[in-house]
C-alpha cells in the first residue's frame, strides 16, 4: 500500500468519524426560528377539545391556540404539523418540528429523550358537581353519592382514598356515569376535566364545577433536549400569558373552566 493511498484512507475514515460526531453539535433552534421567521409546531388533530379538525378542515382547539400564542410572541409564522400521540416524540427528536404542543403529560421515560416547558394546560381526574354541593376534599365525600365508570383510573384512585361513608356508584360506561349524574341519581361525578368540559358544553341540566383533584397530570410543551434558550423563551411566554389572562381565556373557551391557580 502506497503512502498516498494510506493517507487518503485515513482521511476518509477521519471524515466519516467527524460526520458521525456532527449531530452532537447543538443546532440553535431559537436562532433558526428568528432567521427563517417560521416555527414548526406539532399539534393533535384527533383529541378535542385540545385539537381537532373542524368543518373547515382547519385544526382548532386549546393546543392550537397556545401554538399561535407562542408563535405571535416569538414573532414567527406558525406552521402547524398534525401528529398522533404515538409519533409526537419522534417528530421532535428527529427535528421535524421545533415544539410539540399536544396535550402531553410529563413522565420519567419522556424526560430522558426530550425537555419540557412549564405547564400550560390543566389535565386531571377529579370529582365534579353542582355549585351548591360542598366537597372540597376527599373526606367530605362521606354520606354523598358519586358516579364513576367501573375500572377507570378515577374508579381505582378514588376507591383507594374515599372515606368509608362515601357511596360510590359504579356504572358500565362513561355514558351511564354521566347520565346518572345529569338525571340527579348521584350528587357528584368522578371523571376527567376534559369529559366534564364536554358535558358542560352539551348539557345545561346540571353544570359541573371542579370539587377536588384525584390525579393531576397537566400538559407541557415538549422541546428537543438541550434547547435551553428556547425553553427559557417558551417558559417566559407561558408565564406572561398566565399573568395577562390570555391563557385563562383559552381555558375558558375550550374547557369552560378557569385556569387552576396552582398550574
Amino acid at each position: 500500500m502506497s503512502s498516498k493511498r494510506l493517507f487518503r484512507t485515513l482521511a476518509l475514515v477521519g471524515a466519516v468519524a467527524l460526520g458521525s460526531l456532527a449531530p452532537v453539535v447543538k443546532a440553535d433552534v431559537l436562532g433558526n426560528i428568528a432567521k427563517t421567521g417560521t416555527i414548526k409546531i406539532a399539534v393533535p388533530q384527533d383529541f378535542p377539545p385540545f385539537g381537532s379538525v373542524g368543518a373547515d378542515m382547519k385544526p382548532s382547539g386549546y393546543d392550537i391556540d397556545v401554538a399561535n400564542l407562542i408563535g405571535k410572541e416569538l414573532g414567527a409564522k406558525v406552521e402547524l404539523v398534525p401528529v398522533s400521540s404515538a409519533n409526537r416524540v419522534p417528530f421532535l427528536t428527529t427535528g421535524k418540528v421545533d415544539l410539540v404542543i399536544s396535550s402531553m403529560g410529563k413522565n420519567a421515560e419522556r424526560e430522558k429523550v426530550i425537555d419540557f416547558s412549564a405547564a400550560y394546560a390543566p389535565f386531571f381526574n377529579g370529582v365534579f358537581g353542582p355549585e351548591d354541593v360542598k366537597a372540597a376534599k376527599v373526606e367530605e365525600l362521606a354520606g354523598k353519592t358519586i358516579s364513576v365508570t367501573r375500572g377507570s383510573i378515577e374508579d381505582l384512585e378514588l376507591s383507594k382514598i374515599a372515606p368509608a361513608g362515601a357511596d360510590i356508584k359504579r356504572f358500565e360506561d362513561n355514558n351511564a356515569t354521566i347520565t346518572a349524574y345529569l338525571s340527579g341519581q348521584t350528587q357528584l361525578i368522578a371523571t376527567g376535566n376534559v369529559v366534564a368540559a364536554a358535558v358542560n358544553e352539551r348539557s345545561k341540566l346540571r353544570r359541573l364545577s371542579t370539587k377536588f383533584l384525584i390525579k393531576n397530570s397537566p400538559c407541557f410543551v415538549g422541546l428537543a433536549k438541550g434547547e435551553t434558550a428556547l425553553q427559557a423563551k417558551v417558559n417566559e411566554i407561558i408565564a406572561k400569558a398566565k399573568k395577562s389572562g390570555a391563557l385563562n381565556e383559552i381555558s375558558q373557551r375550550w374547557l369552560h373552566a378557569a385556569l387552576p391557580g396552582d398550574l
Binding site: 374508579d155 356508584k169 356504572f171 358500565e172 351511564a176 347520565t179 340527579g184 341519581q185
Partner: protein, 223 residues
C-alpha cells in the same frame, strides 16, 4: 395455548360475592312475590273485565311484554327523575322486576283460570259453595296448580334477568363479577365462577318454587 386458571382471588372477594348472591336472591324473592301478586290481580281483572282495572291491565301487559327489560330499567332509573320521581338503584331494580314479572304472570295465570272446566263450576254451584269458595278452591287453586311450572320458569327467568340491574349500579351478583373482573382482569375465572353460582341459584329457586307449590296449592283445602 394452555390457559392457566387462577382462582386465588376468591378468598379476597368472598364477602363481596356473598353480598352479591344475597342481593340477587333478595331481588328475586321480593320481585317474585309482588310480581305474582300483581299477576293474580291482573288475571282476575282481565278475565272478568273488572272496571277500570281490566282495561288498564291490558295496556300494562302489552307495554311490559313487548319492550326489553333493560329499557324498562333505564326508563325507571334515568327517566323518572325528570318527572321528579327519584328512586334509589335498588328501588328502581325491584320496581322494574315486579312490573316485568307482573305482566308475564298475569297472562300465565289468566290462561290457568280460563282453563277451568264449566262443569266444575256448575258442580260447585250445586253444592252451595259461596262465590268466594268457588273462586278460591275451584278456580284459583287448580289454575295455579296447572300453570305452576310455567310460573316457576318465569321466576327463574326474572332472576337471571336481574343481572341486567348491574347496569344501574345495583350491586347484585353480576355487578360483583364485573367489579372483580375490572380489578384483577381474570375475566375467564370470574365469569366461570359466576356462571356456576347463577346455575346453582336457578336450581335452588326452582326447587323452592316446587316446595311452595306442593305446600300452598296442591294440598287439599282444610274443611
Amino acid at each position: 395455548m394452555a390457559y392457566q386458571f387462577d382462582f386465588t382471588f376468591i378468598p379476597d372477594y368472598a364477602g363481596m360475592l356473598a353480598q352479591g348472591v344475597a342481593y340477587t336472591v333478595g331481588l328475586t324473592v321480593v320481585g317474585g312475590t309482588l310480581g305474582i301478586g300483581i299477576g293474580i290481580g291482573g288475571a282476575i281483572s282481565r278475565l272478568w273485565n273488572v272496571r277500570p282495572f281490566g282495561e288498564l291491565y291490558r295496556y300494562y301487559v302489552e307495554l311490559f311484554r313487548n319492550t326489553p327489560f333493560l329499557v324498562q330499567l333505564f326508563l325507571i332509573f334515568f327517566g323518572l327523575p325528570s318527572l321528579g320521581i327519584k328512586l334509589e338503584a335498588w328501588q328502581a331494580a325491584i320496581l322494574a322486576m315486579v312490573l316485568n314479572l307482573g305482566a308475564y304472570s298475569t297472562e300465565i295465570i289468566r290462561a290457568g283460570l280460563q282453563a277451568t272446566p264449566r262443569g266444575q263450576l256448575e258442580a260447585a254451584d250445586s253444592l252451595a259453595f259461596t262465590r268466594w269458595q268457588i273462586f278460591l278452591h275451584v278456580m284459583l287453586r287448580p289454575a295455579l296448580r296447572k300453570v305452576w311450572p310455567a310460573l316457576s320458569s318465569q321466576v327463574v327467568i326474572t332472576m337471571l334477568g336481574s343481572s341486567v340491574c348491574s347496569q344501574i349500579s345495583t350491586e347484585e351478583l353480576t355487578f360483583v363479577a364485573n367489579f372483580i373482573q375490572s380489578r384483577n382482569f381474570r375475566a375467564f375465572e370470574t365469569y366461570f365462577l359466576t356462571t356456576g353460582m347463577y346455575f346453582a341459584l336457578a336450581l335452588l329457586i326452582r326447587q323452592t318454587m316446587h316446595l311452595i307449590g306442593r305446600y300452598l296449592i296442591v294440598r287439599r283445602p282444610s274443611r
